[in-house]
Symmetry: C2
Subunit: 211 residues, 2 copies
DNA sequence: GGTCATATGACAGTGACTGCCACATTTGCT
DNA sequence: AGCAAATGTGGCAGTCACTGTCATATGACC
């Protein structure tokens, strides 16, 4: 790697770091781009070449975590059952949280103190879910059902979101591993009720008793 | 209802209407707030009292649909099985789409032509999911599992999102009712694989074979 | 060491959004 | 009807995120 790229990587990190510190210290809204640029010792125009928006400065941290999770999923060989490959995602999230718990708590504190920041996070989850759906479909060799892939991706993402949310709601006082175990246990033992039109209930339940 | 409120309601509607027309005509980004205010015959300052942000002008349409869906859910008596009450949500969405299909297609066209608008939509879905989870929990008399309620809400929302997305992806060429039927059929017949650690596979599958 | 590519930063400008204040309209009371 | 309080309206000035442009500086390659 050339000197140039090394330097840029360092500035990139330094900018996010400075921004994060300022956000923690005086809040997201109260912090201007100019202040961040000054703290990071770059011009505002340069800052914008590294991070397209102010939001991106915060979201990038979560983005890194999700990228790691996606990588963990893609690293699974195609022979592994899908459910295990999906577990790699959850596992990666656990590791990420475990490795940066203090930082992440501060991060999520910024998130819910600032209405409007959540939108960026929600959007990130959304596009990530899209990508996961595509990967699941590709993994099944294109023979799979698009709808089914979308639902699978969405439901995995739900697990991640619920886990993270539960963890932050408890201010990190509960082990992530425990939350994950509990959530997956719940999914295994207690069916999630899905929408069912009134008329079909009898037919369905009798069909289920009939093999 | 007083004269004042009637008038305000009308302006509110007129503003959104004018904004929508302009967005369709010349694109979201290319339309300024001043133009919208001019078209709606109000001052910009007044416009902001009705819609807090430019984004809200677009999102409000979806918000109305989701509000109707929530109302449909809340209208279900507590005795109805949860799965049927959740169906009321899906059903409401179907009705909304059926009643405004042309308008909604134009709306979603704006959404995916404009990067950054999606965030508002994603956030709306997110907060709506939260509300649904709370209502599910309350419906079960507080005895229910928070995690389970969250997962149920999320998975219902997934159905809605997948249905709407499939419908817009087909540019309205497929009946919403068919998409819904197919999606629910899929959920009924084909289990969604959830994350499972590698070691547990045998134990689980053998447990399942042992009634 | 010279040259080319590319990163930087300053400047001016646009547009979303806000606080403030004077003005107009509705409402409620007599 | 008429007055007063409450509340909606709109203009103006100002802040701040963000962008296009261009001169300058700096690492990369020969």
């Amino acid at each position: 790697m050339g000197l140039r790229e090394t330097k840029m990587e360092r500035t990139r990190r330094f900018i996010a770091e400075s921004a994060f510190d300022l956000f923690v210290e005086q809040g997201y809204d109260a912090t201007t781009i100019e202040q961040i640029a000054a703290a990071a010792e770059v011009g505002t125009r340069t800052l914008y070449r590294y991070y397209a928006t102010k939001e991106a400065l915060v979201v990038s941290f979560v983005e890194n975590g999700l990228d790691a999770a996606m990588a963990a999923f893609l690293a699974q060989p195609d022979e592994t059952p899908l459910s295990e490959a999906l577990y790699a995602v959850v596992d990666s999230v656990e590791q990420t949280i475990g490795a940066n718990s203090a930082r992440l708590l501060a991060l999520y504190d910024i998130f819910d103190k600032t209405t409007g920041l959540r939108a960026g996070l929600a959007d990130l989850c959304w596009s990530w879910r899209q990508r996961l759906a595509e990967e699941i479909l590709r993994r099944q060799g294109g023979t799979g059902d698009v709808l089914h892939a979308a639902l699978t991706a969405a439901s995995t993402m739900n697990v991640v979101e619920v886990v993270v949310q539960t963890w932050t709601a408890n201010a990190g006082g509960v082990e992530v591993a425990d939350i994950i175990r509990e959530t997956l246990e719940l999914l295994r033992t207690k069916a999630i009720p899905f929408p069912t039109p009134a008329g079909w209930r009898r037919r369905v339940s009798s069909a289920r008793r009939a093999p």
